[in-house]
Symmetry: C2
């Protein structure tokens, strides 16, 4: 390779809100005020898909799915192709470029530049995984390969920011959901408690969610039947443009 040539790879942080045994995250801060409506002994957590390296370099550490860009594909195509080897990509509802990781010494050997992606899988999906691959709570990552831990933190920060000004949660939620389920998703993705009433009020006012008119069957705890909602749109959009900045129709 000459002075300027590099290898380009994609790396995708695929996130899903998943239920883990409570002991995995016991004592974690930020969830103490959360009323848990999950089965006893389970907690909802934002999880990331990782595979364990069988060979050196860094044998035994955990990596994000990804790999080298081929001559005949662009990066988005490459990221989806690489994901298909780890998880059924039809279950990835949202995929976006994060940023490029390009420190000269980020991996040993020939220089590799990584385009990092954020991928989101809905709560109800349960993709088949190869034997070297597992979901890990983002709050308790195992020993990560190279700079992959930094990529995960970057992806989580982007997700939390977009939860606050877009409808991106459509890609983490089932098609139809109660506010209790949606709150579970927001609490897990943000890492702190969110009030159900406020969440319902803000998302309804911004037309992010729409009532379906149906109600859910009460759970074991009984109580009133809960309203069932859906997302108004299933494409990413900014949900609160400044009123003053909208073009005149």
């Amino acid at each position: 390779m000459d002075q300027f040539s590099t290898i380009h790879e994609s790396l995708t942080a695929v996130f899903q809100v998943r239920r883990f045994p409570a002991n995995i995250t016991a004592g974690e801060s930020g969830h103490d005020g959360m009323t848990d409506r999950r089965p006893p002994g389970q907690r909802s957590e934002l999880a990331v898909l990782l595979w364990q390296r069988a060979l050196d370099p860094q044998q035994g550490t955990w990596s994000l799915p990804g790999g080298r860009l081929r001559n005949d594909e662009d990066l988005d195509t490459s990221a989806r192709r690489q994901l298909a080897e780890k998880v059924d990509v039809r279950e990835v509802d949202h995929l976006e470029q994060l940023s490029v990781f390009s420190a000269p010494d980020r991996v040993p050997g020939p220089r590799r530049i990584a385009s990092a992606y954020l991928g989101l899988v809905p709560l109800t999906a349960d993709p088949q995984l190869p034997s070297d691959t597992r979901w890990h709570p983002v709050s308790a990552l195992p020993e990560m390969s190279f700079d992959h831990g930094t990529v995960v933190q970057h992806a989580r920060t982007r997700l939390a920011a977009k939860l606050s000004y877009t409808n991106i949660s459509f890609a983490l939620a089932p098609d139809r959901f109660t506010m209790s389920t949606l709150r579970e998703i927001y609490c897990a993705a943000l890492g702190y408690d969110v009030d159900t009433t406020n969440l319902q009020r803000v998302l309804s006012r911004r037309k992010v969610i729409t009532p379906t008119g149906d109600t859910a069957t009460p759970g074991r705890a009984g109580g009133r039947p809960a309203s069932v909602y859906r997302f108004t749109d299933s494409d990413l959009r900014v949900t609160d443009e400044f009123a003053a900045l909208r073009p005149r129709i």
Copy 2:
């Protein structure tokens, strides 16, 4: 180069709101309702910094500043270094990665992957430019090299989106400004008319701008002295997180 190796380059769309002779943009839609407080015969436009290629490929077309990543630098460092060759980088108040342009055939010859950046220069800066380099209104681009026109449109879309949910306009505005000047910047950057009163109300409520307590000397048209404002912060932040999504203190 082997099957996987590529050349990586940065390309930066540097934007500034500038005043152009009115005939450059006469008849452009979207500005008809705008009360122009500029000197007669001038209009404010979002402009982008371009240089003209003296040699083939595509001799005579206009390109974004940028160039090859070196072995000893990361992409952000490289983008700033390349800009320094075209414009004093101390005048670039904001620089952020947009996305990666990686279509296999985007340029002739060995494969080049481009990391695109958005750069912003404040209204009052007047950087020295080399002789092959000029500011062009984004609404009337000359013949552009390769996919550089697409990069400019992508950068403009990102800027317009961020104007609606962040304080990014700090990087286009002078340190101290009247609402009339700030409106000039928003109208030019968005490409449509914005009401001064609404703009002042929304930006004040969200604590994006703060009155300095000073007033500006009335212009030739006379009238009441205008209040002078400054930006509350000069680091990028999201200005409207959902109230329901903020962590409890």
